[in-house]
């Protein structure tokens, strides 16, 4: 779960060291053909906020957003475990879900508990909707066939023929998938080896690996221009699922591609063996 620290007009649990205690969320989801189920589990420790939930003056909020389909909605509950469903048709590709505790009504003279000494004894006028606790956010890909633990490269990257006859490969990030553009000459050679098991490691090491390093840099940049792109959501989900979000792009890309250098050497070795065998036959 990721949390962005912000400046609020009142202390918020989970926002830096504003308040003592914790608000943690464990989130699971199920992708069905007709429905997508969201199953959050909330754990809270903060006397004043626990009291507000008990008195039905605050709720756990799950805010769901999908940029691909102009969709944003929220679910409200006071239960520690809950299950919300959405029709599968309203979500596509990357779905972000954020967790909060919000006031259900105006709370004049709200006095937070376990507060930072800066806020000791201070009262706040809280309005309905105001955030009292943040539990972070995460994202998933609303696509049953996509497994972030075993992602095929083709789910976020494609290789196309360019219009230049020779010269370096180019990359287009402003599209559905990262598009690597090869010169006509390189494309012709690529077609000859595409799909051959021995060549896969070599292609991954020479073409996919450097591009993926660059793409991971983009995903780790909090102000990336490509945040809305489908490939961005997929790479982000893969990094999260494999626990690589905070790793250096160079290391993360190697883990996603399962050591492309070693696979490339194995491929070259096998190709040389084939050539030698042919020579002595």
């Amino acid at each position: 779960m990721r949390v962005n620290t912000k400046s609020y007009p009142h202390p918020v649990l989970g926002n830096g060291d504003d308040l003592g205690g914790f608000f943690k969320v464990e989130f699971k989801y199920e992708l069905g053909k007709e429905e997508i189920a969201l199953n959050p589990t909330f754990s809270l420790k903060n006397t004043a906020i626990e009291e507000l939930l008990k008195k039905e003056k605050a709720s756990f909020i799950s805010e769901v957003e999908c940029r691909g389909t102009f969709f944003r909605t929220s679910f409200s509950t006071r239960k520690q475990f809950d299950r919300f469903t959405l029709p599968s048709r309203v979500l596509r590709e990357r779905v972000t879900i954020g967790f909060y505790i919000c006031a259900d009504q105006n709370l004049p003279s709200y006095r937070p508990s376990e507060s930072h000494p800066d806020y000791e004894g201070v009262e706040f006028d809280i309005e309905a909707g105001d955030v009292l606790a943040v539990g972070g956010y995460c994202s998933f890909i609303a696509e049953k066939s996509f497994d972030p633990l075993r992602p095929p490269v083709s789910s976020f990257m494609s290789i196309m023929q360019g219009n230049h006859h020779e010269g370096p490969m180019l990359v287009d990030y402003e599209t559905d998938k990262i598009t690597i553009i090869l010169s006509k000459d390189d494309w012709k050679n690529y077609l000859e080896v595409r799909g051959q098991k021995l060549a896969e490691g070599i292609l991954h090491a020479s073409i996919v690996f450097p591009t993926l390093i660059d793409a991971i840099h983009q995903v780790q940049n909090p102000n990336s221009d490509y945040e809305g792109m489908n490939w961005f959501g997929k790479v982000e989900t893969i990094l999260d699922a494999k626990g690589l979000r905070d790793k250096e792009p160079f290391e993360a890309a190697q883990k996603i591609l399962e050591n492309p250098a070693s696979r490339s050497f194995r491929g070259i070795g096998s190709l040389l063996e084939v050539t030698n065998d042919q020579e002595y036959e």
């Binding site: 912000k6 102009f70 929220s74 596509r92 287009d172 809305g228 792109m229």
Partner: protein, 268 residues
């Protein structure tokens, strides 16, 4: 004699690889000249037949030269009526929208979002780059709502879809807004280019609760809505509020009050 009464057909779309190649070709400037031409060379092997069922004849979209924005509402309603059964997943498919702008509604797209002048006017690299960026923005979709908002055809369909009879989609929240005209809020959204851009440009516009309640305010406060600066400030302020207050969780009267309060602070 039994006549086949079913005139429905299935919508053609481009294959994914076709769209990717089209983007590469435009990006390199290779196909730029073709965007000045009335017809588009289609290769059958680059097409797919989708599961989207369409009823008979395509609507004719209008693009009056003097005031193209004036036809947006009419076009949006016609398109939404024709593609009424599209669901959100289908309606965010880059293959569909690229096909519609390049093939089915090419004439309209050229008139409304085409390049001015002739290909020979694009003399240097900078002017070609500007032209390519403009075409990428209005003729292609990459799968996010920014692109859907800007695409020549997608923007029209989504404008109606997001605002069509909200009292039917969410009677509990919007029951008090019931109107004879199901496109009542579409007309407000598309009444000016500024309202469309400002309201949908902000992330909170993805919430139907926020979107419709803002449009309702603008519809009831026409003088306020006429000022580009007012609409821009309202959305900017609401966005700031959203940072600390989940206004999406508010009930309709509370949301309505909040919007009125923010708007009055702008005009005071």
């Amino acid at each position: 004699m039994i006549k086949n009464m079913n005139k429905n057909k299935f919508q053609k779309i481009f294959k994914r690889a076709t769209v990717e190649q089209m983007r590469v070709d435009l990006h390199s400037g290779h196909s730029l000249k073709g965007y000045f031409e009335a017809s588009y060379p289609i290769k059958e092997r680059g097409l797919l037949t989708s599961t989207i069922e369409t009823p008979g004849k395509l609507p004719a979209l209008k693009a009056p030269k003097k005031d193209p924005v004036s036809a947006d509402v009419e076009n949006s309603i016609a398109l939404h009526g024709y593609y009424g059964d599209l669901d959100e997943t289908q309606a965010s498919d880059p293959r569909l929208w690229a096909y519609l702008s390049h093939v089915e509604f090419r004439k309209y797209t050229l008139a409304r979002w085409g390049l001015d002048g002739h290909y020979s006017d694009l003399k240097d690299g900078a002017s070609k780059k500007r032209a390519i960026n403009q075409l990428m923005e209005h003729w292609f979709v990459s799968g996010n709502d920014r692109d859907l908002r800007r695409h020549a055809i997608a923007r029209l369909w989504w404008a109606s879809h997001l605002t069509y009879a909200p009292w039917e989609k969410d009677p509990e929240f919007f029951g008090d807004l019931k109107n004879k005209d199901p496109y009542f809020y579409t007309r407000i959204l598309l009444s000016t280019q500024d309202i469309y851009q400002q309201v949908l440009e902000r992330a909170m516009g993805r919430s139907s609760h926020v979107l419709i309640t803002v449009l309702d305010y603008l519809g009831k406060n026409k003088e306020f809505a006429q000022s580009r600066e007012n609409v821009r400030s309202l959305m900017k302020e609401l966005n700031l509020v959203y940072g600390t207050k989940k206004i999406i969780t508010l009930n309709r009267p509370a949301l309505e009050n909040l919007i009125s309060r923010v708007a009055s602070e702008i005009t005071d």
